[in-house]
C-alpha cells in the first residue's frame, strides 16, 4: 500500500526529468563573435542587481544577471543591449566594441513603479486607490520550505490575521483571514479555489484586497479577497532551477507524560483528595514505591509520549522549474514533490504531494495572443484510522486522546512480540496502536486536482486600445478515501506467571468513498485602454462571468472481514454491505464594469459595479449589485511639493465599496422533505422484516433570504522619504455587515416546534487600522530592508437577534447587541484557598452545599454581586475571543556579500485560550506545577488534584491571555561566488538554512502550550511544529 504510493512518486519524477532534459537538449548554444561581460547595479545604492534581463535588440537572444549582478553575453559588435528589471527604468546600451560594462539602472518612481495584481488585471502600485497589500515571490522564497502555502503568508501582509492551529501533515495550513473578517475569497489565477496545496515555489505574488477594491468580486467578497498569481514565462534564455530542501520537524511546545510512579502517586492523591476511603485507593504506597524502584517487571514504566513521538520528523521537498521565452512565446514549467512524515515513530503515515504546472503564453498574431495553462496537484494524506485531528470525532477517539490516555504503568512491548499490550483498563488509551497504521488501520485520503485554463486576447486594430478576451477554466477534483480498521486483540500480561489475558479487541471494516467535483469558469471581457492627450489615462473593463459546479459522492462499507489480508470491499461479509450516495450542483452568473481614470498620474479615480446572481437564492432575490468607488491623490506630484526633495511619494487614498456574503443561505428558499440520515433519522423497524426509511422535513422556507450586505469604507496614506529610507502606509477602515443570516428568536419560543428559516437579520460593524513602516538602503556592502506591520480590528454587534432579557443579570451576561463580538463571561478566581480557615470565613456559599466540599488547594471564586452564594449571576467578563485583535509582523531582509538573511517575527496580542490540561490527563508539567498539601503553593498553576468539582468551572483561572511573539521564520543563505560557478556553467547556486517557529515568547509557555493551540484542546491535538531546514537551490 505504502510502497505503491512511492512508486507513483518515482514515476512522476522520471517523466518530469525526461521532459526537462529534452527541453535542455533542444536549446542550441551557438557561438557568436564578441563576448561581453558586465555588472548591473542599482543607481541609488550601487548594490548589485540579480536577475536583470538583458536582451539583444531585434533578436530572441537574452540572458540574466546572476546573484552577483554579473552577466555574460556573446553578440555581434555594435549591437544594442536592452536591460530590464522590475521596478527600474528600462535602459538600452549600444555596446560599440566594449567587452566589459558597468550599467547603472535607475529606480522607477523610487521603487513604487512595481506592478501589482488586482482584480481581473494588474495595476501600477503607485496608481492604486484601494487598500491592497502584496507579497512577491522573492519574499515568499524565504519560506519556500513550508508545506502549506498559507504559512508562507503569515506576518508578511498588513491586515492578514492568521492562526496555525495544527501541525498535522497535510492539514497544517494556517487559518488566514483579512482584517479578522472570516473566510476570504481566494482566487488563484482568476479562479476561486483553495491554495494551501500549491507549492510556494510556484507562486509569483499574493495580493490581498482589503477594502472596496474587493467589490468587483461581488456577493462572495465580503471578507476580502486573496489573489494568488502563479509564475509565468519571461523573455529570457531558459532558466532552469532545481531546489531541494530537507526539514527536520519537532514539536514546538507540548508537555510530556508522567512516569509510572508519578502516575500512581497522582491517581492515589486524586482518590484521597476526592474524599474516597483509603482502603479503596487505586494504588497503595507500597505499589507507588515498586513503580519507583522499577526492579519488578510487573511494575514497568513507559513514557508513552516519548515512546511514540520521535524527536525529528523529516520533510523532503524537491522541485525543478524552467522559465524563459521570447517575445513570441514564453513558457514556465514546474514540478515539485513534497514528502512530509508524521511525528510518530512507528508507521504513522504522512503527507505526499506532487505539483506540476505548465504555463504558455503565445503570440499567434501580432494582435492575438493565446495563453494555455495546465496544472495539477496530486495529494496523498495517510493517517492512522484513529485520526490525528483534534478531539475524538471518529469512532476510535483520535490518536492524541489515545496517547494521553495511555497509562505509564503498562509495558510497551510483551515477550511474545505477536501480542499487543493494552495500556489502559477500560475505554480509551492504546496510543501505541492508534498512532500506527500497521496496527489500527488507516484513513488514506488521495486526491487529485487538475486545472486547465485557456485565454484568448485580441487587440482590435480598428479601435486603438480596445481588446477582447475570452477566459475558460476547468477545475476538476477527484478524491478517494479508504478507511480501513484492522482486526486486533490487546492483552494484559503477567510477567511472573507468563499469563496473557485478552483485554480488548476490534474487528476489521472498510469504507471506501469516492468524490468527484467540477467547477467550470468562463469569462468574456472587453478592455479599453487609452491615453487622451498627455494627461488623461483611461482604462475600462466590461466582463461577463459564469461559474457552474457539481459534485457527486458515493461510498460503500463492509465489515466482518474474512482475513485482513484482503483490504478490499470484496473481502468483507456481504451481509454487512452498506452504500451511500449524494450529489450537489450550483451556479453563478455575473456582469461587471470597471473604470479607471487618472489625470497626470496625480488624481486617480476608480469605480466599478458588479451584478451578481447566485443559484442559492430564490429567483427574485438572486441578483445583487455591488458598486465601489475610490480615489487617490498623489500629493508628491503637485508642483508645490516638488521642492521637497526628501519626499519620494505622498499619496492619499479613499474608498467605499459594497460587497456581499452568500454563505448564509443554501437553498433556504426551498422547503420540502429529504430522506433522513443518522443521527437525525435513518430508518425505523416494524416487525422482523419491515425497515422503513424515514423522511425529514428540511425546515420552513424563506424565499426572501438573500446574501448579507457588506459596506466598507477605507482611508489611507502611502509615503516614501529619502529614497525609501523610510516608507510605509497607514489605513483605517470601517465596515458594516447588514442582513447576516439568523433565525428570528424573540418572536418565536421553541414550543413552536420548528426552527424559523434564516432571515437577513443581524448586523455588526468592524473597525480598525493597519500600519506598515519600512526602511531600506545600504551601508557599505550590507543592503537591508526592514518592514514592520501592525494591525488591529474590533467587531461589535449592531443587532443580534436575541430574546428581550427581563432579568438584569441575564441581560448583562447574554446580551450581544451593541457589544463586541468576542466577549467571554465566566467566574473570577480569587486564587487558591491557602487554609481551611479561609474556607470557613468565606462568607458565602461557593459550592451550594455550605462549602463542605471545599478544601485548601481548591480555587476560590469572587462573589461579585455580594449575595450569599456563588452562582451564574457572579459571572463577569473574563477575557476576549480566540482570534487575536492585534497582529504584528517584522520582516528583516539583509544581504552582505554572498550572504543573505531574512527573518520574520510575528506577534499576536489580546486573545485568549482555555487551558484544558488539568481536566484531561496527567502530564509531567501538571505533576510539577500542581498544588499539593506539601507545597501549599497558592500560586500553583493547577488546584488540588481530585479537588472540588467547581475547580473546572469556566473562570479566568483557565481562560488565559495567549498573546505571543515568535520568530516565525528565519532563512540564512550563502550564494556561491560567480567566479566559481561560471566555470561549471552554473548561473546561481545558493545554500541555505531555514527555520520555522524557532522561538516563542508567550504567557502560555509555563503551561507548555503553544499559543496557537486551539481553544480548549489541551494536548488533544496535533501540535504545531518547529522546522529546521537545510536547502539548496541551483539554477542553470
Amino acid at each position: 500500500m505504502h510502497a505503491k504510493k512511492l512508486n507513483l512518486g518515482f514515476r512522476w519524477k522520471s517523466i518530469y526529468l525526461l521532459a526537462v532534459f529534452s527541453v535542455v537538449s533542444l536549446i542550441s548554444l551557438a557561438q557568436q563573435a564578441v563576448t561581453v561581460t558586465g555588472l548591473v547595479v542599482d543607481s541609488t545604492d550601487n548594490s548589485n542587481l540579480k536577475g536583470v534581463t538583458i536582451t539583444l535588440s531585434g533578436s530572441k537572444k537574452a540572458t540574466q544577471t546572476n546573484s552577483d549582478g554579473n552577466f555574460t553575453i556573446t553578440v555581434d559588435p555594435n549591437s544594442t543591449l536592452i536591460f530590464e528589471y522590475v521596478g527600474f527604468e528600462k535602459k538600452a546600451i549600444n555596446i560599440g566594441n566594449q567587452t566589459s560594462l558597468t550599467i547603472n539602472l535607475v529606480r522607477r518612481d523610487e521603487g513604487l513603479g512595481e506592478v501589482v495584481v488586482v482584480a481581473y488585471g494588474t495595476q501600477k502600485k503607485v496608481n492604486l486607490t484601494g487598500s491592497v497589500a502584496t507579497v512577491k515571490a522573492e519574499e515568499l522564497g524565504a519560506a519556500s520550505n513550508v508545506a502549506s502555502a498559507s504559512n508562507a503568508l503569515v506576518g508578511r501582509l498588513a491586515g492578514l490575521v492568521s492562526v496555525q492551529s495544527s501541525g498535522q501533515p497535510g492539514y497544517d495550513g494556517a487559518g488566514v483571514s483579512i482584517r479578522g473578517f472570516g473566510s476570504a475569497l481566494i482566487i488563484v489565477d482568476g479562479v476561486e479555489t483553495n491554495f494551501n496545496n500549491i507549492d510556494v515555489n510556484q507562486i509569483e505574488s499574493v495580493s490581498i484586497l482589503k477594502d472596496g477594491s474587493a467589490s468587483i468580486y461581488g456577493s462572495r467578497a465580503g471578507n476580502g479577497v486573496i489573489l494568488v498569481t502563479m509564475k509565468r514565462g519571461t523573455i529570457s534564455k531558459p532558466l532552469i532551477s532545481f531546489g531541494s530542501a530537507y526539514t527536520a520537524q519537532s514539536v514546538t511546545n507540548q508537555p510530556t507524560g508522567v512516569t509510572s510512579w508519578e502516575f500512581a502517586e497522582l491517581s492515589r492523591e486524586a482518590h484521597l483528595n476526592a474524599g474516597f476511603p483509603e482502603s479503596t485507593a487505586p494504588f497503595t504506597t507500597e505499589q507507588v514505591e515498586k513503580y519507583r524502584l522499577g526492579t519488578d517487571p510487573n511494575f514497568p514504566n513507559t513514557n508513552w509520549y516519548d515512546y511514540l513521538v520521535r524527536d525529528r520528523a523529516p520533510q523532503l521537498q524537491n522541485s525543478i522549474g524552467i522559465r524563459g521565452g521570447s517575445d513570441k512565446i514564453k513558457y514556465y514549467g514546474y514540478i515539485g514533490v513534497l514528502d512530509q512524515a508524521t511525528m510518530f515513530k512507528f508507521n504513522g503515515g504522512g503527507y505526499k504531494r506532487y505539483n506540476f504546472q505548465s504555463n504558455i503564453d503565445a503570440k499567434i498574431l501580432d494582435n492575438l495572443s493565446l495563453r494555455i495553462d495546465v496544472a495539477g496537484t496530486i495529494e496523498s494524506k495517510l493517517q492512522s484510522a484513529a485520526g490525528y485531528g483534534q478531539g475524538g470525532d471518529n469512532p476510535e477517539g483520535g490518536a492524541f486522546t489515545a496517547i494521553w490516555q495511555s497509562q505509564p504503568i503498562f509495558p510497551a512491548t510483551l515477550p511474545d512480540p505477536s501480542k499487543i499490550p493494552s495500556n489502559r483498563v477500560g475505554g480509551g488509551g492504546q496510543g501505541h496502536i492508534m498512532t500506527n497504521v500497521d496496527q489500527i488501520g488507516y484513513a488514506d485520503d488521495k486526491s487529485q486536482n487538475f486545472r486547465g485554463t485557456a485565454v484568448l486576447d485580441y487587440q482590435f486594430k480598428q479601435i486603438k486600445g480596445l481588446s477582447a478576451k475570452a477566459f475558460y477554466n476547468a477545475n476538476q477534483f477527484f478524491n478517494m478515501n479508504r478507511y480501513f480498521l484492522r482486526p486486533r486483540v490487546l492483552y494484559y500480561y503477567d510477567f511472573t506467571s507468563d499469563i496473557y489475558t485478552p483485554a480488548g479487541s476490534g474487528e476489521a471494516s472498510l469504507q471506501v468513498s469516492n468524490n468527484q467535483a467540477s467547477i467550470i469558469t468562463q469569462q468574456y471581457s472587453l478592455n479599453y485602454v487609452r491615453k487622451l492627450g498627455n494627461n488623461h489615462n483611461l482604462n475600462m473593463l466590461a466582463l461577463y462571468e459564469d461559474i457552474e459546479q457539481w459534485d457527486n459522492n458515493t461510498s460503500a462499507r463492509r465489515r466482518n472481514f474474512l482475513t485482513p489480508a484482503i483490504e478490499q470491499l470484496i473481502g468483507g461479509d456481504p451481509a454487512t454491505m452498506e452504500s451511500y450516495g449524494s450529489a450537489n450542483e450550483m451556479g453563478r452568473k455575473s456582469y461587471l464594469f470597471r473604470l479607471n481614470y487618472s489625470f497626470k498620474d496625480k488624481y486617480l479615480l476608480e469605480s466599478s459595479v458588479r451584478a451578481d446572481a447566485s443559484a442559492r437564492f430564490a429567483k427574485d432575490y438572486r441578483w445583487g449589485y455591488f458598486p465601489s468607488v475610490s480615489a487617490g491623490w498623489v500629493i508628491s506630484k503637485e508642483n508645490f511639493m516638488k521642492n521637497i526633495s526628501s519626499l519620494d511619494l505622498l499619496k492619499l487614498r479613499g474608498s467605499y465599496g459594497k460587497t456581499g456574503n452568500d454563505g448564509g443561505g443554501n437553498f433556504q428558499y426551498l422547503s420540502g422533505f429529504q430522506l433522513s440520515t443518522f443521527p437525525f433519522g435513518g430508518s425505523y423497524a416494524f416487525g422482523p422484516t419491515n425497515l422503513l426509511p424515514t423522511l425529514l422535513v428540511t425546515g420552513l422556507a424563506n424565499p426572501r433570504l438573500s446574501w448579507e450586505e457588506v459596506d466598507i469604507y477605507n482611508g489611507g496614506v502611502d509615503f516614501s522619504l529619502w529614497g525609501r529610507k523610510l516608507y510605509g502606509s497607514f489605513d483605517v477602515f470601517y465596515r458594516t455587515r447588514t442582513g447576516i443570516a439568523a433565525t428570528r428568536l424573540t418572536s418565536l419560543p421553541s414550543t413552536f416546534g420548528s426552527d424559523l428559516p434564516p432571515e437577513n437579520l443581524n448586523s455588526l460593524n468592524d473597525r480598525g487600522f493597519e500600519l506598515e513602516l519600512g526602511t531600506q538602503g545600504r551601508i557599505g556592502e550590507l543592503t537591508y530592508n526592514l518592514r514592520g506591520t501592525l494591525s488591529n480590528t474590533v467587531s461589535r454587534w449592531d443587532h443580534f437577534e436575541e430574546p428581550v432579557y427581563t432579568d438584569a443579570d441575564q441581560e448583562r451576561t447574554n446580551k450581544r447587541s451593541g457589544r463586541r463580538t468576542d466577549v467571554r463571561f465566566g467566574y473570577l478566581n480569587d486564587g487558591i484557598f491557602a487554609s481551611q480557615k479561609e474556607i470557613d470565613n468565606l462568607g458565602f456559599d461557593q459550592d451550594t452545599r455550605g462549602n463542605v466540599s471545599l478544601r485548601p488547594g481548591d480555587i476560590r471564586y469572587k462573589n461579585t454581586n455580594g449575595d450569599d452564594r456563588l452562582d451564574w449571576k457572579d459571572q463577569v467578563e473574563i477575557g476576549k475571543g480566540n482570534v487575536p485583535r492585534w497582529i504584528t509582523g517584522l520582516n528583516i531582509n539583509l544581504k552582505y556579500k554572498q550572504f543573505d538573511l531574512s527573518a520574520l517575527f510575528q506577534g499576536a496580542f489580546d486573545f485568549y485560550t482555555y487551558i484544558a490540561i488539568s481536566n484531561q490527563t496527567y502530564t509531567d508539567q501538571y505533576y510539577k506545577t500542581r498544588w499539593t498539601e506539601e507545597n501549599g503553593n497558592v500560586n500553583a498553576l493547577y488546584p488540588r488534584n481530585g479537588g472540588s468539582l467547581l475547580n473546572t468551572a469556566n473562570s479566568d483561572f483557565w481562560y488565559r491571555n495567549a498573546s505571543y511573539m515568535r520568530l516565525k521564520a528565519l532563512n540564512i543563505g550563502y550564494s556561491l561566488p560567480n567566479k566559481l560557478l561560471s566555470k561549471v556553467k552554473i548561473h546561481d547556486c545558493r545554500i541555505y538554512f531555514a527555520g520555522q517557529n524557532l522561538l516563542t515568547v508567550s504567557g502560555l509557555n509555563e503551561y507548555s502550550i503553544d499559543p496557537e493551540a486551539p481553544n480548549t484542546a489541551g494536548m488533544y491535538y496535533y501540535p504545531q511544529q518547529r522546522g529546521l531546514t537545510l536547502g539548496l537551490n541551483i539554477s542553470l
Partner: protein, 593 residues
C-alpha cells in the same frame, strides 16, 4: 491568417452565447416537495416513521437526535446512573448531576426543544392526513398512532418539567403572539390530556399488532401508558405540593381519581387475558433473563421497539447496548458502564422472602465462595446483575482484586503460582454490572451498534405492579397483594404474607431494576431527597490462593464523600432554564431555581 482570426472570433462568439440558460436554476438534489408527500401513502408512512424515530423517549430518556455521539452511545444507560441503582466510572456527564449540580441551567435529561419539534410534526400529521387521497382505514390507524406518540411525548415533558404549554394545533408564524408564546398549563391538565387522548384512541388501535406491524402501539399499549401516567399523577397528587397555582403539583383531592384510572387501565389489560408473565423455563434465573431476550411471541410484551443487528449509522436499527453494558473483554477491554451499587444488589431478597442485606461485619470476616455469598438469593438477582464468577461466554467473570497468600499477607499485583492478582474486569468500581437485556452472543466490538435485542416499552410485569400500587392506594390491599405475588411467584421467591407501601416499592425496584423506572418513581413518590442523597458502596473480591475462596472488602463511599449525591427539593422538577424563559416571558420558572 485572416481565416484563423475569423475562426477564433467566431469561436468566442459561439462559446459566449451558448452559455447554459439553466445555470441559475439549480436546487438541492434529493428534495421531495410537500405536495408529493401528502398525496403518497408510502411517503406518509415514512413521515410517521421519522416521528417514531425521534420518539426515542419510549426507550431512552436521553435525547439522541441532537447529533451528540455520547447520547447515542450512552443514552439508554444514563437513567440508571442518576438513580440509586447504579454508579458509573466512565462517562459521568449525566451522573455528575447527581452530585447536586442540577441548577437553573438544567442540562440533565433535557427533552424540551425536541419534544416540541415532535409535537409539531404530529400536529401537522393530524391536520394533513385526513385530506390525503389514500386508504381511509390506513389514515384512521396512523392518526391514532400519531396521537399515541403525542400523548407519550407530553408524558416525557410533564414528568420532567411539570405543567408545560399544551399545543395541539399546527402553529403558524403569523398566529397571534399569545398563542406562539403560551403560558404553562397546569400539571394536572397535561395528565388529563394524556389520559383522555389514550381513552379516545384505545378502541381505534387494534387489540394486537402482529407480523410487520409489531412496534406500533396496540389498544393495550395505549392502556399501559394510561395506567403508568395516571399512576404518576395519582402519586404526585398524594405526595407532592401544589405550587405556582398548580403549574407544578396536583390537588390532593384528585389522587383517588387518578389511581382509579391507573387501576382500571391495568385491570382491563389483565382481564383481556392477552398477556401473561413470561414463564418458559424451570430455571427461574434463566427464565427471567430470557424474558428480555426471547423475541418469539413473548407473552409478556405489550409494546416493543424492534432492533436489528444493522447499526443505525448504516441506516439500521441496532443499538450499542451490549458493547457498553457488557463485561470485559470487549473492544475496549471493558464495558460495565452501569455499575450497580452493593445496596442495589442487597435489595434482592432471599428466596424465602427474608432480607437480602448482607451482614457487613460478618461478610468481611473469613473466606467466602460465591455460592455461599449469594446463597438462596432471588433468582432475579442472577438474571439482572453480573459480578465475580458470573458465567459469561463459556467462562467466568473475574473481579479478583488481590490475592491472600498462604502466610495471610495480601498481594495486589502480579501473580502467585499462576494465579493472577488482578482479574480481567474493572476493579475500581462496585464490582457489579447489569446483565438484564445483555445478549451473550454479541461480539461486543465497538464502531457498530449491532445489538439486536428488542426493547420492551411496556411489559405485563409492570402492569401488575401498577395494578398493585393503584389498588393499594385505593384501599384494596388484597388485590394489591395478589398482583405482587403473581410477580414474585414467577420470579421464584416466596409470596408476601401481607402488603404495605414499602414492600410495594421494594418489589418495583427489584423487578423493574435498570429498566428506567426507578429515577422517575422516587421523584413521583417524593422520596428522592432521601433516596438519592446517600453515599453507597461497592465490594472487592480478594482471592485466597489456597482455598480459591474470597475475602470480601466493602468499599464505602463509591461516590466521593466530599460531594455525595444530593437531590434537592427543587429537583422534583427540572428547571425550565433561563434560555427558555427568556425566549417566552409567559413561561414561569419552576420553584427553587
Amino acid at each position: 491568417m485572416k481565416k484563423l482570426k475569423c475562426i477564433i472570433i467566431l469561436l468566442i462568439v459561439v462559446v459566449a452565447t451558448s452559455c447554459n440558460k439553466d445555470l441559475l436554476d439549480k436546487k438541492p438534489l434529493g428534495l421531495i416537495t410537500e405536495e408529493t408527500v401528502w398525496k403518497d401513502q408510502i411517503l406518509i408512512e415514512s413521515y410517521l416513521g421519522q416521528v417514531y424515530f425521534e420518539c426515542q423517549f419510549m426507550e431512552n430518556d436521553q435525547n439522541q437526535t441532537n447529533g451528540d455521539v455520547l447520547n447515542n452511545w450512552f443514552g439508554r444507560l444514563m437513567i440508571n446512573e442518576v438513580s440509586d441503582e447504579c454508579y458509573t466510572q466512565w462517562v459521568q456527564i449525566w451522573s455528575s448531576f447527581k452530585w447536586g449540580n442540577l441548577l437553573i441551567g438544567g442540562g440533565l435529561l433535557e427533552w424540551w426543544e425536541q419534544s416540541y419539534r415532535i409535537n409539531r410534526k404530529i400536529n401537522e400529521f393530524i391536520e394533513r392526513v385526513p385530506t390525503a387521497p389514500v386508504d381511509e382505514n390506513f389514515k384512521k390507524q396512523r392518526i391514532a398512532e400519531a396521537r399515541f406518540l403525542r400523548a407519550y411525548n407530553y408524558f416525557t415533558l410533564v414528568k420532567r418539567y411539570g405543567g408545560v404549554p399544551l399545543i395541539t394545533k399546527l402553529q403558524n408564524i403569523d398566529d397571534p403572539k399569545e398563542e406562539l408564546a403560551p403560558a404553562r398549563n397546569k400539571e394536572s391538565e397535561i395528565y388529563d390530556f394524556i389520559i383522555s387522548e389514550l381513552e379516545a384512541i384505545k378502541d381505534i388501535l387494534p387489540a394486537q399488532q402482529s407480523g410487520d406491524e409489531i412496534g406500533r402501539p396496540s389498544k393495550y399499549a395505549a392502556l399501559s401508558l394510561q395506567s403508568r401516567a395516571a399512576l404518576y399523577a395519582g402519586s404526585i397528587a398524594q405526595f407532592g405540593t401544589v405550587k405556582l397555582s398548580g403549574i407544578v403539583g396536583i390537588d390532593a383531592a384528585k389522587s383517588v381519581a387518578y389511581y382509579q384510572k391507573a387501576y382500571d387501565a391495568a385491570k382491563t389489560i389483565k382481564e383481556s387475558n392477552n398477556f401473561s408473565l413470561y414463564n418458559r423455563s424451570g430455571d427461574k434465573a434463566a427464565n427471567f433473563r430470557n424474558l428480555f431476550l426471547d423475541e418469539a411471541a413473548n407473552p409478556e410484551a405489550i409494546f416493543t421497539i424492534i432492533h436489528n443487528e444493522s447499526p443505525r449509522e448504516a441506516g439500521g436499527r441496532g443499538t450499542v447496548y451490549d458493547y457498553f453494558q457488557g463485561p470485559a473483554p470487549n473492544a475496549w477491554g471493558l464495558g460495565n458502564q452501569d455499575m450497580p451499587y452493593l445496596e442495589m444488589a442487597e435489595e434482592f431478597e432471599l428466596i424465602d422472602g427474608s432480607s437480602g442485606k448482607l451482614n457487613r461485619v460478618l461478610v468481611q470476616q473469613g473466606l467466602w465462595t460465591m455460592a455461599d455469598l449469594w446463597k438462596n438469593k432471588d433468582p432475579r438477582f442472577f438474571a439482572s446483575i453480573y459480578t465475580n464468577e458470573t458465567k459469561w461466554k463459556g467462562g467466568l467473570l473475574d473481579y479478583t482484586k488481590g490475592l491472600v497468600l498462604p502466610d495471610g499477607s495480601i498481594q495486589l499485583d502480579g501473580s502467585y503460582q499462576g494465579q493472577r492478582a488482578r482479574g480481567n474486569q474493572f476493579l475500581d468500581g462496585s464490582s457489579f454490572g447489569v446483565l438484564k437485556y445483555l445478549d451473550e452472543s454479541n461480539k461486543m466490538l465497538l464502531t457498530t451498534g449491532d445489538s439486536k435485542t428488542d426493547y420492551l416499552v411496556f411489559r405485563y410485569g409492570e402492569t401488575l405492579l401498577n395494578l398493585a400500587e393503584a389498588a393499594f392506594e385505593l384501599g384494596k390491599p388484597v388485590e394489591a397483594l395478589a398482583a405482587v405475588n403473581l410477580v414474585r411467584n414467577r420470579a421464584g421467591i416466596a409470596p408476601l404474607p401481607s402488603i404495605d407501601r414499602t414492600k410495594l416499592r421494594h418489589e418495583r425496584k427489584v423487578e423493574l431494576f435498570a429498566e428506567g423506572h426507578r429515577y422517575w418513581d422516587v421523584r413521583r413518590w417524593r422520596t428522592a431527597t432521601v433516596a438519592l442523597s446517600i453515599n453507597q458502596s461497592g465490594i472487592q473480591y480478594i482471592k485466597d490462593v489456597v482455598t480459591g475462596k474470597y475475602k470480601l472488602v466493602i468499599k464505602a463511599n463509591i461516590d466521593p464523600s466530599t460531594t455525595p449525591p444530593k437531590f434537592t427539593e427543587a429537583n422534583y422538577y427540572f428547571p425550565i432554564t433561563p434560555g427558555r424563559t427568556g425566549q417566552n416571558p409567559n413561561l414561569v420558572e419552576n420553584p427553587g431555581y
